[in-house]
Symmetry: C2
Subunit: 305 residues, 2 copies
C-alpha cells in the first residue's frame, strides 16, 4: 500500500523497555510497551500516530525503529529521567507470568496531550495504561469516530471506578476472557460481554490467546481462531499487537460493517501470531506483505468449511 | 431422518451412574458413562450399537432411555453386581474437578465382545475406557472402515504402553489440548498433533472445551469454535457427546472429505453444547431437529466472514 494513502490511527500508550525471560530464552531492555507493539502492527494498514513518553535512555535507534515503520513519533515526548521498564518471567506454559520489576520512571509523570497535528484523527486506540489517563485522552478526542480501549486485570483490581467511567465513553473494548469474566463477575464470556456492553462500549473484543478472539457487537458475533504455531517464544505484547492490527484495518477502511469487523479480527490475529514468535517487537518488524497475506489465508482456511 | 435409513455406528464404552456436583447444583446416581453420552448424541445421525456392561441396579427405565433414542442395546451385558459409579465435584471455573469416588464394580470384569449382529459395522468408536480394552475391541473389528478412539489423562498416566499400542491401530484420536501436549511432551497443539499422528492415527481431533475443537489430518486442518453459552450446568460427558455427534455424522455419510470432516466437527460441537446445559444426559435427550439445526446455524454464523 502506498504510504501516502494511509489513514491515520491515533495510539496512546506506553513506550517501554522490557526485560523478559521465557522458556525459549530472554531479552534485556528491549523495545516494548503497548504503544510500540500496537503502532508497529498498525503500520502495515494505517499511519499510526503515537502519544507517549520516554526518558533520556531511549536512544535514537529505538525511535528510528518506530519511525522506520512509518510511525508518526511527534507525539512521543522525551524528558529527563529513565524510560518505563518492565521485567517479567513466564512460566513453562507461556500463560502465567511473574512480574519481577515495574519501574514507571518517566511514565509516572505522563500527562498525555494530543498534539494539534493529531486532532482530526478519527480512529483512536487508548492502549493498556491507567484508565485515568485513558479518560483524559478520551475527553481530548472529542470528534473521534471510534475510540477503542484495551485494559488488563491490574486496572480492574486497582482503578475500578476510573475504568467504569472510561468504559462509558468508548466504542470498543479489548480484553482477555478471564478479565472479562472478572470485570463482569460472570462465568461465561457471553454473559460477561452482554453485561459489559450495557456499561458503555458497543463492541467488545475478547482475546483468548492461543484460542483466538471473539467480537460481540450490535447484532453481530464473530469468532476467529488463533493461528496455529509450532513454537511460541514470547507472548509479551500479543494483545497490544492484536489491537494495533485490528484498528489499523478499521481506520484504513472506516467501516463497521460485519465483513469489515471480521477482516479486522483476522488481521489482528495474524499480527499477534507474528508477535509471539520472537522477543520484543522483532516478530512484527519488517514483515513482507506476502508473509502477512499468506498467514491470513492459512487462518481463513481453518474455518472454511 | 427416517430411522430405517440410518447407518450403524458401533460404540464401546462405559455405561455408568454419575453423582456430580457443580456450582449449578447436583445430580445423584444419574445415567452417565462414555457410551451413554456418545450413543445418545450419535442417535440423531446414525444407529448406535453399544457394547457395554451394567449391574443389577441398572433398571429397565435406564435401558429404555437409551433404547428410546434408537440405541441398539443388545450389546450391553447385564451381570450380577453393581453398575460402574463415578462421583465428582467441579470447581467454580467448571474446568478443574475432584474425583470423590470411582467404583468400577461390574466394569472391572468387562471383557468387551462385539456381538455377531454388529460385526459388519464399518464405523467404530472406542470410547474413553482402559486402552487394553480398546485394543481388544480394535482387534475384533477387523473389517472396520474407520476406528476412532477417545482417551484421557488418567490413561496417559497409568497405561501409557497400551495406549501407544492402540494408537498404532486406530484412524482417529480424540483428546483435549492439555492431554495432547502431555502425551506428546510438546507445548503447542500443532506440534503435539504432528508428533502423535506419526504414532498412528491419521486424524486427531483436539477438543478445547469452551474454545472449540481443531482437527488435524492429511492435508487438512480445521477449526470449529464452541457454541457460546450463557450458562453451563455440568461439563461431564461433553467430550463423549462430541465424539458421538462427530462419528454419528461420519457414519451417516461415509466420507472423509474435507467438507464432511468439517460438518462432523460442527455436529459434535453442537451436541456437546447441549450436553453441558444440563446434568447427566438430560441436555441431549429428546432434542428436536429444529433445535439442533438452529444451533448449528448459529455456530457457522460465528465464522462466516
Amino acid at each position: 500500500m502506498n504510504e501516502q494513502n494511509k489513514e491515520p490511527l491515533l495510539i496512546v500508550g506506553s513506550v517501554a523497555f522490557d526485560s523478559v525471560e521465557t522458556p525459549q530464552g530472554k531479552a534485556d531492555m528491549a523495545l516494548g510497551g503497548s504503544a510500540s507493539y500496537a503502532s508497529i502492527a498498525a503500520s502495515y494498514f494505517a499511519k499510526p500516530q503515537v502519544v507517549g513518553i520516554v526518558g533520556e535512555d531511549f536512544e535514537s535507534h529505538h525511535m528510528e525503529r518506530l519511525h522506520g515503520h512509518g510511525v508518526d513519533v511527534r507525539g512521543i515526548e522525551s524528558v529527563a529521567g529513565r524510560t518505563f521498564h518492565w521485567k517479567g518471567r513466564y512460566h513453562e506454559n507461556f500463560k502465567d507470568r511473574d512480574t519481577l520489576e515495574t519501574a514507571l520512571n518517566v511514565f509516572q509523570h505522563f500527562n498525555p496531550t494530543i498534539p494539534d497535528a493529531y486532532r482530526d484523527t478519527r480512529f483512536v486506540l487508548l492502549g493498556n495504561i491507567d484508565p485515568r489517563l485513558q479518560l483524559s485522552v478520551r475527553r481530548q478526542a472529542k470528534d473521534a469516530t471510534l475510540v477503542a480501549m484495551d485494559t488488563m486485570n491490574f486496572w480492574i483490581n486497582t482503578e475500578r471506578d476510573a475504568l467504569q467511567e472510561v468504559l462509558k465513553q468508548v466504542d470498543l473494548l479489548f480484553l482477555n476472557d478471564e478479565e472479562a469474566m472478572q470485570l463482569a463477575d460472570e462465568w461465561t464470556v457471553l454473559a460477561a460481554a452482554a453485561k459489559i456492553r450495557q456499561w458503555g462500549p458497543r463492541y467488545i473484543v475478547i482475546k483468548r490467546g492461543e484460542h483466538g478472539a471473539v467480537l460481540f457487537g450490535p447484532d453481530v458475533t464473530l469468532y476467529v481462531p488463533a493461528v496455529l504455531l509450532t513454537r511460541v517464544v514470547d507472548p509479551t505484547g500479543a494483545g497490544d499487537t492484536f489491537a494495533g492490527g485490528f484498528l489499523g484495518h478499521l481506520s484504513r477502511t472506516g467501516s463497521l460493517e460485519r465483513a469489515n469487523l471480521a477482516a479486522a479480527l483476522t488481521w489482528g490475529t495474524v499480527m499477534a501470531s507474528f508477535a509471539v514468535e520472537a522477543f520484543s517487537v522483532d516478530g512484527i518488524c519488517g514483515l513482507s506483505r506476502h508473509d502477512i497475506d499468506a498467514r491470513r489465508n492459512h487462518l481463513i482456511d481453518l474455518v472454511r468449511y
